[in-house]
Symmetry: C2
Subunit: 113 residues, 2 copies
Amino acid sequence: MAVRISELNFSKGGGLIPVVTQDVNTNEVLMVAYMNEESLKKTLDTGFAHYWSRSRNSLWMKGETSGNTQKVKSIMIDCDEDTILLKVEQKGNACHTGNKTCFYRRIEKPLVI
Amino acid sequence: MAVRISELNFSKGGGLIPVVTQDVNTNEVLMVAYMNEESLKKTLDTGFAHYWSRSRNSLWMKGETSGNTQKVKSIMIDCDEDTILLKVEQKGNACHTGNKTCFYRRIEKPLVI
């Protein structure tokens, strides 16, 4: 089943939709970022992941400075039309810390304070 | 590396953190929901995923009515401390539509309008 961009609900998040990015080969979750309509269109047009930076308030192509680009293999939308799941071929590491994924730390019960 | 709840940044999202929930066996992304500090504590205390419902404005245990509970196997936090990744054993389907995952529809380029 396919959907159109116009069916997405960008309004809930003030024009932004959270995007989960998953490695197409390992299914590892690499990162979560945000897209507005412009970055989703740019992603569809170029085939490379583009996000919206909330801190810089600007369009951002993943890997534009680091070279760690994400070639998009599929774009899924959830049942509420307010979240996107990208499957990508990740070049290098996804995380700016040098880790493969941004999720490299665990929350454990004995340490909760 | 382990982190404490107090290190998490709930303020960016107005007290809420987006949570990606992944099937621990298949690595399939099942859903994205939100947690506040209370639902994270409840998740840690009970071992079952609890979220914060933005529409009902209340704490919500996944599967409390449907029976499709999520037994938590790990909780990871991202580099910015503002997103959580849960790995769970999903009982039944994760999506209220009856699909295994909430991400069952694809966005395709020719259909974008």
